[in-house]
């Protein structure tokens, strides 16, 4: 392993995987909150973690056990990749490559990145809409069948943008789901919309009731991670997602 490479170390046997969901700290912590909810509600066991010299020197203690902050969970051919720490712009290319290479090695049929897209009028939106992006026509049809509108124009910045590019390059079927969200505040409502969209898209049956009931607690307890994530979003110029694309380029 090169000093700058990131690898996924499997700590439990992982066979082939049908769907792989990636939810990382990003806009409104939407991806992370949704990923955590899926892991908890399906009682998905941890099967691996990310290792590299370039990852932050952090160990998280849960139930007395030290754990790597970037982890992989898997149950019934559904895998979830998540992180408890924000990701710096510098390691994004290596991280995207590691995720896509691992997914490909597991024969993943669809890699789904989940996140939020900031909207200024979020307070006026009761149930956030979810938009989909894919580079492949078959996956665009999947989105259409699940009644998920395509994001027609805009910018995408950060881990999911690189994962999409990497999937395109390596021919790994990929969809990005973005829920309308607060930019700077944890948004469990947007995460619930993502889970509902995944239910439709992948024929899952994950309840969002508990997620919505715990919304205030989630907002309170993820304050500090949201603040740190905001800083990492600044370094990757995330606000560009809220700009209009140039018309004549």
């Amino acid at each position: 392993m090169g000093a700058e490479a990131i690898t996924i170390v499997e700590t439990a046997p992982v066979g082939s995987i049908k769907y792989c969901i990636v939810g990382l700290p990003d806009v409104g912590l939407v991806g992370l909150i949704a990923a955590t909810h899926i892991i908890h509600s399906t009682e998905m066991p941890e099967v691996g973690h990310f290792e590299s010299d370039i990852l932050p020197p952090i160990v998280v203690i849960h139930g007395g056990d030290p754990k790597a902050p970037f982890r992989v969970y898997c149950k019934d051919k559904l895998a979830v990749i998540t992180s408890e720490v924000p990701i710096s712009a510098a390691i994004l290319p290596m991280l995207a490559r590691a995720i896509v290479d691992w997914a490909k090695s597991k024969g993943v049929e669809l890699l789904i990145s989940i996140s939020g897209t900031a909207v200024q009028n979020r307070l006026d939106i009761e149930i956030p809409e979810v938009y989909g992006i894919s580079a492949f026509s078959a996956e665009k049809q999947l989105l259409s069948k699940a009644d998920i509108d395509l994001l027609e124009e805009g910018f995408m910045v950060g881990p999911h943008a690189l994962i999409l590019k990497e999937c395109q390059k390596k021919n790994v079927p990929n969809i990005v789901l973005l829920a309308q969200s607060h930019y700077q505040y944890p948004d469990p409502g947007a995460a619930a919309s993502i889970v509902s969209a995944l239910n439709k898209l992948l024929s899952l049956n994950i309840d969002t009731k508990q997620l919505l009931e715990q919304a205030e607690e989630i907002r309170l307890k993820s304050r500090e991670l949201m603040q740190r994530t905001q800083r990492s979003m600044q370094t990757m110029q995330k606000t560009q997602e809220q700009e209009f694309p140039a018309m004549y380029v």
Partner: protein, 143 residues
């Protein structure tokens, strides 16, 4: 674009980044809680428009009637009692089983405002305060 111009822009960008990071590090308030007072700092966001400053704050577990705002020309103080105490169990070494009962934060405003004209609303746990600026700028007639 000539290579030296590109290099110059890259250097300016790197410098901007460094200054930004140093500035944030300096003003970064950590930790965001105080066990002795049972207070937590809420997440806040300050935006500056031409004629006003808008401050928003995320206040989960708070009811409108329990929010107290104190505005001066250059600061905004937010204090809000929570509906119920929130416990963090088995966390860390010093702060094991800590309990918090309110939010509190004093925000230094980026320019002077008119406190008497400030307006606030609270929706879905998010507080929004509009603070009209003291000096609003001058209109320039185009000849």
């Amino acid at each position: 674009m000539a290579w030296w111009r590109r290099k110059m822009f890259e250097q300016i960008e790197a410098l901007e980044r460094e200054i930004g990071e140093a500035f944030e590090e300096f003003f970064y308030e950590r930790p965001m809680w105080d066990i002795k007072t049972g207070r937590i700092k809420p997440l806040t966001y300050v935006t500056e428009a031409e004629d006003k400053i808008v401050v928003t704050a995320d206040l989960p577990f708070v009811r409108k009637e329990n929010i107290k705002l104190n505005v001066s020309e250059d600061t905004l103080e937010i204090e809000a009692a929570m509906e119920r105490c929130v416990r963090f169990e088995r966390w860390g070494t010093v702060q094991r089983s800590c309990e918090f009962k309110s939010f509190h934060r004093i925000i230094k405003l980026p320019s002077e405002v008119v406190p008497e004209e400030a307006k606030a609303k609270f929706k879905c746990g998010i507080l929004t305060i509009d603070l009209p600026k003291k000096v609003k700028g001058y209109k320039i007639e185009i000849e």
